[in-house]
Symmetry: D3
Subunit: 68 residues, 6 copies
């Protein structure tokens, strides 16, 4: 599947923290830690596990730029 989101970054899941309806996933992408918050259904349906290869998918309009 190709997707219009400009940022697709492959890495490894290092942490899954489940809440009542939302889970926080930490992904290690070449040493960078990216945090995603997704629904518990998605975690279950995709069978996500720590150690698994996965990609972070981010639209360019959801990326802000900051300077010191």
């Amino acid at each position: 599947m190709k997707i219009s989101a400009r940022n697709v970054l492959e890495g490894k899941i290092i942490e899954i923290k489940e809440g009542a309806t939302t889970s926080h996933i930490v992904l290690d992408v070449k040493g960078l830690h990216l945090t995603a918050s997704i629904t518990n259904e998605a975690v279950e349906e995709m069978g996500l596990k720590a150690g698994q290869t996965a990609s972070a998918v981010i639209k360019s309009s959801d990326v802000m730029i900051a300077v010191a």
Copy 2:
């Protein structure tokens, strides 16, 4: 300034492409290329230039997870 967005990734601006109201910024973060689309006003007001150090700021709820 500290911000609630969970993902703040420092890198270097390598490209700025300006459109009618929106600009696309490519940031090199430790070899990873991240694309942001921000307003032209933001580019001007922040005086963004290629080669400049800048951070990508991304809320965890804007990061999706994909698996093959």
Copy 3:
């Protein structure tokens, strides 16, 4: 590829309107018209054409509910 976004709706591209950096895509999903705005690079890279089968991908946190 499986993605954490809860809404993946398959349909047919019926219109592509290109702007300076952003394009508007209209997708017919079982008679429903969905409008997406994505980058021109995405349109080009994915080789999107009117009449092509494609899916709208939408995170549940990006769907609001309204009542009369």
Copy 4:
């Protein structure tokens, strides 16, 4: 009320799942199931109930396009 979001899709609420602060609402729109995640306050304030007519409201910039 008219809203700038390009996608306003009327349907029927078929499921409401409440979490600690966020609820997941499943809407049937002409046979298509759309999932929204909104705050518990919104569910309460709007008096949302299964079986109720409601619309999914989605900005075009929140709709991604994917192709196989």
Copy 5:
């Protein structure tokens, strides 16, 4: 129409700047200036004009918090 977005702030349109596909709208809400970027179709369809009363609609998950 009632909407699940937690932030509905009424004000007056003070500026409309049109781009190729996207327009920037500046709204004065009790002296606060809020900028929205919406599609040109939305501006046209809603017949938006400077001086007109309008509301900014913002989901709580799209509001970040920053501290010095």
Copy 6:
């Protein structure tokens, strides 16, 4: 830190409601109440307290316009 988001609105935190993974923060900005939903980690890491000065940060593409 300067950020590309067009809307940075300074106010005072008047309420923090914590859920399993997400907290709702109400900010008073010149008499306007803005609600943000952010991760519990962000609340903890930033040491957010009721009565504290803080800013709401909102991208222009996340602001919709509605008219009666």
